[in-house]
Symmetry: C2
Subunit: 510 residues, 2 copies
């Protein structure tokens, strides 16, 4: 597909690609409350209105979580002398709820995604809640190249800059890491008979699904929240993500949607005036003067996408943003209304707004590599397909960006070669078992998820009203909407069935 519309972008052909890379790329479930910036990562965790409410302060205190390190070989699949180099992989265990090895009590193993484990422990409330419920061991394993699990002798930045070292940064290696840690921990605890459920959200949910498919002898089941395992190649239309964002805004307020849709050409119109960029900087109270209109458009795109992805109760950021836009407290012209939406999103009138918010985390730099090597998630859209400016996914540009940045070509077909995806219903109908794939349809990534039961144990559980990782992140609360309570009950029932079946088998096969 050629680049159409957006004349202002035509001079920098890499931008549509960058836009894709940097806006939609990462999709962890949560970011820690101590980093109160919004972001594609963090969701709607404005400190004034923290929906995370981590359970650490409730029944599990920080001291219940013990940190360990596992000497992990850098390369599981080759036998070069250097393959045996080890790095310290962090894992964190809470023994408090565990009924122990003798009872063959379960293990919930949370598979780290594209961030530090510090962003998970105490924040993925699914874990302590269900470990308490099932008397289970609570285990978190960090993904290589994130957090503290960095190749020995390197800082994270150095490791990512080193073409040889970062070459080991792949999903297959990460999954093999998890396998080694789980086997070793079970052995150390004499808990070989304990059933393991691997748990993950978003990319971590993909890892959990793939782990169950590749290592069924290590995990007897997988719980994958918001895992878009079909958002590869042409398995779903490229515009699925922005189409859902658009639908979310349309449903919240049609006039809000119309305003956003009109705003892009208005930004271009102003930007093309003499002093236009300066006018935009003032209008949006930017901390630093705008250098290119596309920076502002990227920023707004991220804000809308993030609002939709994390459109969570009780505040529903899409509604919040649209209330701002429709209210137009900063003027009734298009850009004034858009800016009102931004202010409304933050729920505070900041002194100034920083477009760089999205760009500076370890997650983004790691994810940049992962998407440039194997996780080629083709998000894009043509003109008038969504409320966003046209930005088709053009593989050549994507590839050029990656080759330019990292010196290697992406392998866009490796994910489906290694993990499958094509004809998934037919393949998994008669192969595999015990995978629970949950989604919320307001999450734009749900468009790449599994929304239909595939067999009687590969199950899809979704809610129309839910969003990204909603079932696993916030703590259960009496104020939760009914549909969320019902979803979680259903998930618990499924897990309970798996455990019962496992213990039946264990008695038979002992």
């Amino acid at each position: 597909m050629a680049i159409r519309a957006h004349k202002s972008l035509q001079g920098v052909l890499w931008l549509p690609c960058l836009l894709i890379l940097l806006l939609f790329i990462t999709f962890t479930c949560a970011s820690p409350p101590r980093r109160p910036t919004l972001g594609v990562l963090g969701g709607y965790n404005n400190p004034k209105n923290n929906v995370h409410n981590p359970s650490l302060t409730a029944s599990d205190s920080k001291k219940d979580y013990q940190t360990f390190y596992f000497d992990q070989p850098i390369d599981h699949f080759n036998y070069q002398p250097v393959s045996y180099t080890t790095f310290r992989e962090r894992y964190i265990v809470n023994f408090k709820h565990w009924r122990g090895a003798k009872a063959a009590a379960p293990i919930f193993a949370y598979l780290g995604e594209e961030s530090s484990l510090d962003d998970d422990v105490g924040l993925i409330n699914f874990m302590p809640e269900n470990c308490r419920r099932f008397g289970a061991l609570e285990l978190y394993i960090e993904h290589r190249f994130y957090g503290q699990s960095i190749p020995t002798g390197f800082t994270r930045e150095e490791a990512l800059k080193n073409a040889t070292i970062r070459g080991y940064f792949s999903s297959a290696q990460a999954i093999a890491d998890y396998a080694e840690v789980i086997i070793s921990l079970k052995k150390n605890l004499s808990a070989e008979s304990s059933p393991v459920i691997v748990v993950g959200g978003s990319y971590g949910g993909m890892l959990a699904t793939w782990f169950r498919l590749k290592y069924p002898h290590i995990a007897m089941a997988a719980f994958a929240s918001s895992a878009p395992i079909l958002y590869f190649e042409d398995l779903v239309p490229h515009n699925s993500y922005p189409v859902v964002v658009t639908k979310d805004f349309q449903e919240a307020s049609w006039s809000c949607y119309e305003t956003i849709k009109q705003s892009w050409s208005e930004i271009d119109r102003v930007a093309n005036k003499s002093n236009g960029l300066s006018e935009l900087s003032k209008k949006f109270k930017l901390c630093k003067p705008l250098k290119d209109a596309s920076d502002l458009k990227n920023y707004l795109n991220s804000l809308y996408s993030s609002s939709a992805q994390y459109d969570r109760p009780p505040n529903y950021p899409v509604t919040v943003v649209c209330r701002g836009i429709d209210g137009g407290a900063n003027g009734t012209d298009i850009l004034g209304r858009i800016f009102s939406g931004v202010v409304s999103y933050y729920r505070e009138n900041k002194e100034c707004y920083d477009l760089g918010d999205f760009w500076s985390t370890e997650t983004l730099s790691g994810w940049d590599w992962q998407t440039c090597s194997e996780l080629v998630i083709p998000i894009g859209n043509g003109p008038n397909e969504t409320m966003f400016p046209a930005s088709p996914f053009v593989y050549k540009e994507y590839r050029d960006y990656c080759v330019n940045k990292f010196g290697v070509e992406p392998r866009p077909t490796w994910i489906t070669t290694n993990y499958g995806g094509h004809h998934i219903k037919m393949v998994l109908k008669r192969f595999g078992s015990n995978i629970l794939l949950s989604n919320g349809l307001r999450d734009p990534y749900s468009s790449g998820g599994i929304l239909e039961n595939i067999s009687d144990s590969i199950l899809a559980v979704y809610t129309k009203e839910g969003s990204h990782c909603l079932d696993i992140v916030p703590a259960a609360s009496a104020n939760d909407p009914k549909w969320l309570i019902a979803q979680r009950k259903k998930e618990v029932r499924i897990m309970r069935r798996w455990f019962n079946m496992y213990y039946d088998d264990l008695r038979k096969f002992g």
Copy 2:
């Protein structure tokens, strides 16, 4: 375990390990008739009495087999610049029987084992016979580092000597190679809807089993003949292999078994005399003077093991060897009778006998690396457990040999970590499908195979009288024993059921 008995070996502690490494290690299904030496590999294919009877000369002529090459990345799992280096992987296709892409006609993909494809095409009669039967495409893919599928710019010897290059020589890489070739070929033929059955024997059968478990989206079923997928770690007793060899000889002739059992100390006794080695050289008509009694013992061990492993109709080498031993045409003393067994095995009175027969093939050098890296198959036995001299599996010695030879440690637990094995019945009862595991109980490797149905589609088919790969190597013949005919019929029924189910699904999911 300490080394016991065999004082003569105690000075060379690496020998028991070497004995294991070099005697039992490789176990391909067949060797080509143009290489008429006996061997652990080749089985009983003395040209005077060729049991292979390749079908090439029957209905498929050599010209029906077309050779292709696929540019395969050297490293599927990492993204280092060097990972993208490609080598030419050979695959061979026979289109003659294929009913075509439009009919979604099947593909039988034979996964190469530790040898050149030249050892397979035209010799694995299962392939043309069943491709004809099912109107299927006949595909053979060569295992990396064997035959013509060597890293570019290296000879096979150079590739194996280069610690970095041979590091890419692993089962996971080989299986990923097969995945890429099958996907690419199906795409090129527009045969995406054609069901694929992967087929393999021995190590190739392990690969087929593992392929179905890891890539169910690429192969809808696996047919694994004589795959000892449980001969790792302590999943089966270390002495399982020599125990079956012993049983085979006992059943053929108790006195033969007794003679063999007594012969080892007799060899030692003679060897310890002055001029004893020269006496042994004469007695066994060796082409080169014997340097160490252990060379003779290794040789005899290989001969007995090979006889048992390939104890095939119509001649049954165990019976042949025992007829020689019991007949004692070369003297009635123990060693004279043993030598009569050797002569009987070859069915000819050679001018002299070469102990080096076992040591010089490409298979052995490749397998030496594979067993020193990941395929740690712990074969050994204690005193008086078998008809062989005590030679317990001592991991430390095994490891020392490997470290000394290749500079890297084996990873003895990686196979079960990556592919499973522990509690296999419980794990695969509810996971996976469509794997047929066939065995013949006279094959000592059957002791590491699956001999019970695991689920209604992970099935064990075995015969008491059968041997290594017997169901897939020799061409079907009217003279076949009834039990072999029955086994093959059963296997065809199972495959037909899989195809029917697949086409049913295809109609539904289309």
